[in-house]
Symmetry: C2
Subunit: 252 residues, 2 copies
């Protein structure tokens, strides 16, 4: 048995077969938007891969790859012998290789950053281990407070290797750290993150405008470029009443 098309006729009428954007990506991103906006409703059954391919003039592997992207995101479910369906559950976007600054902007908040300090210091043993540089190397240590719509949300402490010694406080007020690195042609390929919790220490409660000793949500991250070099090491603490980490897990 086959299924009627569940998307508007013209949805894929303007595929660009010559440009740099892969066909599978054009398909999957259009489909993703239609699903997230509800144009294709939860529970809807898609046509089978071959039928879609014929309608769009694409080979089956290309259609398949587009669909697989959405399966990996948790938007679609496939079962052999059954078909492909739009998932019923609400799906959150995965934790991504972006900064808090970009996260907030995307959600429509207005993030501001106060740079508390930009120091150039000799790496102690701990910092050297995290950045994978020799002890004593002169590194940059940044401390910032990020607010959304005027409310302090997080304290961001970052360590940078020597090559970024010229980054200034003024730069960091305007852009997120990751934007700035990207503008310098630095591509972050991999990051290891650890999410935990602890009490406030030192002046953290003042900076975040919460009670002394109250809980903080923490995230430690080490980011690497394609060559395996450490680009950045961060220790962030978030106000747990204002911030949490959401993920959607998909079984393989």
């Amino acid at each position: 048995m086959s299924t009627d098309p569940v998307w508007p006729e013209e949805m894929f009428s303007d595929l660009d077969r010559t440009g740099p954007v892969p066909l599978y990506y054009q398909i999957s991103s259009r489909l993703e938007r239609a699903i997230r906006e509800g144009v294709i409703p939860a529970g809807a059954r898609l046509e089978n891969e071959i039928a879609i391919g014929e309608r769009l003039g694409l080979s089956r592997p290309t259609v398949r790859r587009a669909i697989q992207e959405l399966v990996d995101q948790g938007l679609l479910v496939r079962r052999r012998g059954i078909g492909t369906q739009v998932v019923q559950a609400r799906v959150s976007r995965p934790v991504e290789l972006t900064s808090l600054h970009e996260d907030l902007t995307r959600v429509g908040h207005h993030p501001t950053t106060e740079v508390l300090s930009v120091e150039h210091v000799a790496a102690d043993e701990d910092a050297a281990a995290r950045l994978q540089v020799p002890v004593g190397t002169v590194i940059s240590r940044i401390r910032r407070v990020r607010s959304a719509d005027g409310t302090p949300m997080a304290i961001l402490e970052n360590l940078l290797p020597p090559e970024f010694a010229d980054i200034t406080a003024a730069d960091l007020e305007k852009q997120g750290l990751y934007e700035m690195l990207r503008a310098r042609g630095i591509t972050i390929k991999i990051a290891n993150q650890t999410i935990g919790a602890r009490r406030t220490h030192g002046d953290e409660h003042e900076l975040l405008d919460i009670a002394k000793g109250s809980p903080l949500l923490t995230m430690d991250r080490v980011a690497f470029d394609h060559g395996g070099r450490v680009v950045e090491a961060g220790h962030h603490c978030y106000r747990p009443d204002l911030y949490s980490f959401e993920t959607t897990l998909v079984s393989r």
Copy 2:
């Protein structure tokens, strides 16, 4: 230019071309083990896809898929025009659709579970919303304490829809909840997780043997089967000095 083989000659000598295990999976899992065990060292360059295919008697798409699995896991990095390399950074396994019970077992700890209560109650508004059942439906509410090697690590509160009303405390002492669901043929396809932090409430500090009002790491999860039905809704709190969430993020 081409590269010398970086893995032992016999590593892929016993591929099973008739069994149910996909060839790409046989390749990727063997490669993963070799990388994690250091048999293939960090920074090593792999041969190109076509050469590997010829050596193993496989087509390029099959080899490519095997490699892609490891790229998605953050173990390999590929760059066009350059080649494929083993990543230098330590890579942690991603947060998975498994239970804490299985996580601990895998790391070699001995998890024990104390079942505090198994109740069958009418769902209030909050519980009904989380399980997506009508208010007043009789659901199961489970409360457990999980310990590793005798130390309490987490309080696990779970809500189950009516179909699991027959699960007993005795069952839960022996197996993780997820194992039990799997044994009943329930496949969890998707889960939404939120990780946060808060202070202890009520008797939580006693159960976890920590100070009253101290920080907890929390994880809320709603798990769905392939049909979008809610299988389980959980609220877990962890001792932040004993537990944290690790992830490796990979840029696409």
